[in-house]
Amino acid sequence: MLKIDNLHVKLEEEDKAILKGVDLEVRAGEVHAIMGPNGSGKSTLSYVLAGREGYEVTAGTATLEGTDLLGLDPEERAAAGLFLAFQYPVEIPGVGNMTFLRTALNAQRKARGEAEVNAADFLRLVREKAKALDIDAEMLKRPVNVGFSGGEKKRNEILQMAVLEPRMCILDETDSGLDVDAMKLVAQGVNALRAPDRAFLVITHYQRLLDHITPDVVHIMADGRIVATGGPELAIEVETNGYAGLLGSVA
């Protein structure tokens, strides 16, 4: 599904390398987790894959089912099936949540040559998905993320994911700022989307999210590289011993 080869990335504004040769392959149906200390490049990886400006790829490739992602605009990557759940979902005053979501869905469908969803069907679709995430009608009516609590913002990200049905989902620290109940709700939302033709890349600091979303593969990232790869037990090792022990043993 997602294949990253020797990816090197630096900040456009300053000559600072962030990713220094990332290799990663996520197959359809799999859930991979990336853990790592602050500043290891986890969020940068997610932004570069989604197409955020400000980064320069100096070497390497990233493909989604064989399509070169790095040559596409963000909206083309979305239409190709990529989705990034933001660590800090953006507040957009004046743009209604429903308008935003419907515009996004229909733009993606149009780009893929599919028919647009009409207003009534769309409303039904969103209501159904929102219910499972405990998102009420009032929240849907508000401007995108404006006045939402941290938990509401993250649930709204998962709602977008559920409606847009991407094939490759990247979750960037979706657990940050969530209490246990909210985290369970978010995890349920993610688990409901797990499917043989869909893959997940879950970026997190802590192992606790992985108690609820069980990964197939866990990677440890440090200083712009994947330094260790293993099963769920790797996450438990991090939780017990911290990164220090693990990174020490790698070095």
Binding site: A50, D73, E75, Q160
Partner: protein, 433 residues
């Protein structure tokens, strides 16, 4: 008065004579109307036509607004605004009232008559408004186009509201002639407790000079929603003079899309305690679009509230101007004055010039003002595009969101939505072209 002592340069004086001579002196009117016109003509003759070097015209060149003959403007076919609203339509073609195209000017709670008729009679209320509010608004700065309007305009309506009007009155301004130069003047009086919504839409003429005097008596409410511009080469200078009584409300919103040069002045005086005045505007244009909002709010009573909310979206060399002033007179305690002007520049070629002013002579007031100027937020743009919204469409959504704060000043949700729809169409057309 200090105003009379101002001495104007010869060029300005000649300009004033030319403007006065370009329009016939109205005949056969009541003596009070003649007197008001003479006062305005004298004022214009003494102070002169607006000039490029006037401080008050520092950001907007008045040359093409005063030039004779008026510069031509091509006519554009476009649908009328407010078609979804149940309203009483009064149609003007190139600034001339067209009764055969209009609804019968009758509605419970309203007396509507053409200005030319009202000025021939001894209409008591009109006598207290015509040239009076405008004259009052000439201090401390000259408003020569409004003086010309008072001196010469014969087209327009005189409306007196005695109760709650069942539906809005809509002035529909059709532009048919490429060389039309229109003077339009409306007089409006809301008696105590009356309630009226006035709509205005259409480009009106190749060049329009419009003025409205509105007297809002105690406890009355006046709502005004205007859509102007549209034809690319169209020029306009408009002025609203409002006087507000106790516990009255005045709310005015203007949408301007396109047009070459537009100067909208709004002069409001809060003379009764606990009155509320909100004036808002959204303007969008590109290339040689030049839009100027010049607002002057005077607080002359206690516990009044005023708000100015102006949003401009500028592209490819367009210029936006905002001159907004709040004057709090001595004794106008507990004044709540607010002013915000913001511009969204879609490229580096466009400009926003803002001159916010507060002048306060009372010590127990709350007044604030803000002005910002910036580009589209790249973080919001990335968020929208990352969900599959194409960049141009995402930018359009953000533009609509930016101006929505001004649209929210419209109380009637149906009218606000009408404006939103109009705006969305405009933005969509802009993307295609």
């Amino acid at each position: 008065m200090a105003v009379a002592a101002r001495k104007a340069p010869a060029l300005k004086l000649e300009g004033a004579q030319a403007l006065l001579a370009a329009w016939p002196e109205p005949a056969g009117e009541a003596s009070w109307a003649q007197a008001a016109r003479a006062r305005a003509a004298r004022r214009l003759a003494e102070h002169g036509a607006p000039g490029r070097r006037d401080e008050y015209w520092r950001f907007t060149d008045p040359t093409s607004l005063a030039a004779l003959p008026a510069p031509a403007a091509a006519v554009l076919e476009a649908p009328e605004v407010f078609e979804g609203v149940d309203r009483l339509r009064l149609v003007f073609v190139d600034g001339v009232f067209a009764p055969e195209m209009s609804d019968a000017p009758e509605m419970a709670g309203l007396e509507i008559q053409p200005l030319s008729v009202a000025l021939r009679r001894d209409v008591h209320w009109a006598r207290e408004v015509f040239g009076v509010l405008e004259g009052h608004g000439q201090d401390p700065v000259d408003r020569p186009f409004a003086s010309l309007n008072t001196a010469r305009a014969t087209e327009g309506m005189a409306i007196r509201a005695t109760g709650k009007a069942a539906r809005p009155v809509d002035f529909v301004y059709l532009h048919r002639s490429e060389t039309s130069d229109a003077l339009v003047r409306h007089l409006i009086k809301l008696e105590p407790g009356a309630d009226l919504t006035l709509l205005e839409n259409g480009p009106a003429a190749a060049r329009l000079n419009a003025a409205i005097e509105v007297e809002v008596a105690d406890g009355a409410a006046f709502h005004h929603v205007r859509v102007q511009g549209r034809d690319h080469e169209r020029r306009a200078t408009t002025a609203i003079f409002a006087r507000l009584g106790r516990e009255s409300r005045f709310k005015s919103f203007t949408l301007t899309a396109n047009g070459r040069v537009t100067r909208n002045e709004c002069v409001i005086e809060l003379t009764g305690d606990d009155a509320v005045a909100h004036v808002a505007g959204a303007s969008l244009g590109d290339r040689d679009f030049h839009h100027d909002d010049t607002i002057f709010v005077t607080h002359a009573a206690e516990r009044c509230e005023s708000r100015q909310v102006f949003k401009k979206v500028l592209k490819s060399g367009a210029v936006g101007v905002f001159q907004g002033k709040i004057l709090v007179r001595p004794g106008a305690q507990k004044t709540d004055g607010y002013q915000i002007s913001q511009a969204l520049l879609l490229d580096e070629a466009s400009q926003f010039l803002a001159k916010p002013e507060l002048e306060i002579y009372a010590d127990d007031v709350k007044c604030s003002h803000g002005s910002t100027c910036g580009a589209v937020d790249p973080t919001a743009l990335f968020y929208l595009t990352s969900r599959g919204v194409p960049r141009a469409e995402a930018e359009a959504l953000l533009v609509l969101a930016f101006v929505d704060e001004a649209i929210q000043e419209i109380e009637d949700q149906g009218l606000a939505d009408e404006i939103r729809g109009r705006l969305a169409d405009w933005v969509a057309r802009r993307r295609r072209s």
